[in-house]
C-alpha cells in the first residue's frame, strides 16, 4: 500500500527521456524485467537511528531493509541486490565484531555482490580477509592488484549472473587508497587506473562474454567539484562505453533520482548513489524486449 503511494509520487515527480526511434516495439515481443536493488556506505549502521537523532531520526535499519527487499523479490524473482562498499566502520558494532555482523546480515538479506570501499580496510586487509567466510556473497574489484596480499584470488574483477536468460556482467572499481587509508592497513594492494580497467572490463563483458546488461559497482565517488579531473563516477561514465549502470559510493551523495550521463559513444549511462547509512535503497528496473531486430537507441529511461 505504502509502496504504491511511493511509486505514484516518483512517477509524478519523474522525468521521461525517450531517445530517437521507437519506444513501442512494432513486433510481438515478450518483456523480461531485471530489478537491481542497491546500497552503499552503510557503515555498520545496523540499528535504525534513534528517535532523538538530530538528522535521521527513526530512519534506516537492516531489519526494515530486509522486509523491503523481500517484498521486491516476491514481486520480481529476477532481482539482484548489490552494495558499492564501505560496509564497515561507523558504529560500535564494527569495533566490537570487526564486520562479522555486517557480513552475516548481508548474507541473510541475500546480497548477490559487493565491491570494496576504503573503510573496508579499517581493520587492515587481514581483518577484511578474516571476515570473508561470513559473507555468502562475492566481492568484485578490477583495479586493485591483490597479488601480493592475502586477498589474492579471493576478489574477482567481475561476476556474471544469468536471470531469466538475461546475461548480466558486474565489475567493481575502488578508490585510490594512498592518502585515505594507512599503508599498513592496505599493505601491498596496488591501485590501478580505474578508467583503463573499466574500458577493459566493458570490452570483456560486452564482446567476449556477450552480456546483455553491464553494471559497474564503484567506490570512486560521484563527483569532485573542486577537482573535476579527479576520477569519479561522472568522469568514468563519460570516458567509457557499453556500461548501462554505475552504482556509486564513497561521497555519501544522496541522489533523489539516478543521473543520466552520456558515454564516449554518446549513449546514455545511468549513475546512482543512495547516500549512506542504509537510509535508502536504490531500485533500477531494466525491461528487455525480445525481437528479431535490435533498434539502436530506442530505450526509454524513466527516473
Amino acid at each position: 500500500m505504502k509502496r504504491r503511494t511511493f511509486l505514484q509520487q516518483t512517477t509524478a515527480a519523474g522525468t521521461l527521456i525517450g531517445l530517437g526511434g521507437l519506444t513501442l516495439s512494432s513486433f510481438s515481443a515478450k518483456t523480461k524485467k531485471i530489478t537491481i536493488l542497491h546500497t552503499n556506505d552503510v557503515h555498520s549502521h545496523i540499528d535504525p537511528f534513534g528517535p532523538n537523532d538530530g538528522r535521521n531520526a527513526n530512519k534506516g535499519g537492516v531489519a526494515r531493509r530486509a522486509t523491503l527487499i523481500e517484498n521486491v523479490r516476491r514481486e520480481n524473482s529476477n532481482t539482484l541486490l548489490l552494495d558499492a562498499g564501505d560496509i564497515f566502520q561507523g558504529t560500535p558494532y564494527f569495533n566490537y565484531y570487526g564486520g562479522e555482523l555486517e557480513f552475516k546480515l548481508m548474507s541473510m538479506l541475500k546480497y548477490d555482490l559487493a565491491t570494496i570501499g576504503n573503510h573496508d580496510f579499517d581493520n587492515s586487509i587481514d581483518g577484511l580477509y578474516a571476515q570473508l567466510p561470513n559473507a555468502k556473497f562475492d566481492f568484485v574489484n578490477a583495479n586493485y592488484d591483490f597479488s601480493n596480499t592475502v586477498l589474492d584470488t579471493h576478489i574477482k574483477p567481475y561476476k556474471i549472473f544469468i536471470k531469466d536468460g538475461i546475461k548480466i556482467g558486474i565489475f567493481g572499481l575502488g578508490i585510490e587508497l594512498e592518502g585515505l587509508v594507512n599503508k599498513k592497513m592496505y599493505k601491498e594492494t596496488v591501485y590501478l587506473d580505474p578508467i583503463e580497467k573499466a574500458q577493459d572490463m566493458s570490452r570483456i563483458l560486452k564482446e567476449d562474454e556477450q552480456c546483455d546488461l553491464i553494471i559497474c559497482l564503484s567506490h570512486l565517488g560521484y563527483n569532485y567539484k573542486n577537482s573535476p579531473n579527479k576520477v569519479s563516477d561522472l568522469v568514468l561514465a563519460r570516458k567509457t562505453k557499453d556500461i548501462d549502470l554505475i552504482i556509486g559510493g564513497h561521497t555519501h551523495t544522496f541522489l533523489k533520482k539516478p543521473t543520466i550521463e552520456r558515454n564516449s559513444n554518446n549513449e546514455n549511462v545511468l549513475i546512482n548513489q543512495v547516500g549512506c547509512y542504509g537510509l535508502y535503497v536504490g531500485r533500477i528496473d531494466f525491461y528487455f524486449e525480445s525481437g528479431k531486430e535490435k533498434i539502436a537507441n530506442s530505450r526509454t529511461i524513466i527516473v
Binding site: A63, P92, Y96, G282, D285, Y287
Partner: protein, 252 residues
Amino acid sequence: MKLRHLLLWSALGFILSCKNEVHLNKIEGQRISISDSIESKTDIEAFIKPFRERVTKDLDNVLAYASDTYSKTDGELNTAIGNFMADAVYLESNPIFKKRTGNSIDMVLLNHGGIRAIISKGNISARTAYEIMPFDNEVVIIAMKGIKVKELIRFLAERKRAHPISKLKLTLDQDYNISEASINGKSIDDSKTYYVATSDFLYEGGDRMTFFKPNEGVENLDYKLRNLFIDHFKKIDTLSPTIDNRFTRLKK
C-alpha cells in the same frame, strides 16, 4: 501453478534463445526510503538482538561520573573538556612512551574539531568515549626541534581556536601575538628536541597542521584515543575538569 509457469517460461526461453534477440528498451529508476513505516523482518531483528544487548550492556556500563556538562564551546582558548582530553592523553600515554623509549612526553596537542560531542552531567560509560571520539585515531609521539615547536605555537596563535593542549603554557597578548610560551616552566629552545603527543590524523596534516613534518622521529603507540579515554574513565571516579590558564589571551 508454479510448474506451469516454469514450463511456459522455458518454452518462451527456447523460442527466444537465439543470441542477440533481446534488447534493453526501458529503464526505470527510483529511490526507496527506509523509514519506520516499513515493518522490521522478525528473523533479522532476532538475529541482531543478542549482539545489540552485548554492545549496549558493555557500552552503558558506568565507568565514572561527570560532575557537570562539558562542551567544547565553553571557553575562549581552552575548554574544560579539551583540557580533560589532552591531559588524559598525557597521563595514559607517557608511561607507555617512557617504557618504550626512555623519553618523556613534553606536550600534547589535539584539535578542537576532534571533540565530537559533549560530555553530559551524570554517568560516564564507554559510549561516552565513542561519542567524543568515534574515529579510530591513534596516539603518535613526534620528536621535534624547538624551532618546529615554535611553528606549532604560531599556528595556535594564528588559528585563535581552543585546540586542546597539555603541558604547554601559551599566553597571547590582546592582539593574539605570542606573549609567553613555555614547556615545563622554560621557554622553548630552538635546538632542543621535544616529544609532542598528538593523533595520527593530525600528524598526517589533518586540520591543516603541517608543522609536524619534517621531524626527528615518530613513535606510534598503536593506542586508539577512544580506548585511551575508556581506560582513563576506568581509573577516575569523578570527572570535573576546569578551564585554566594554559592557553589564554591577555585582556586590557
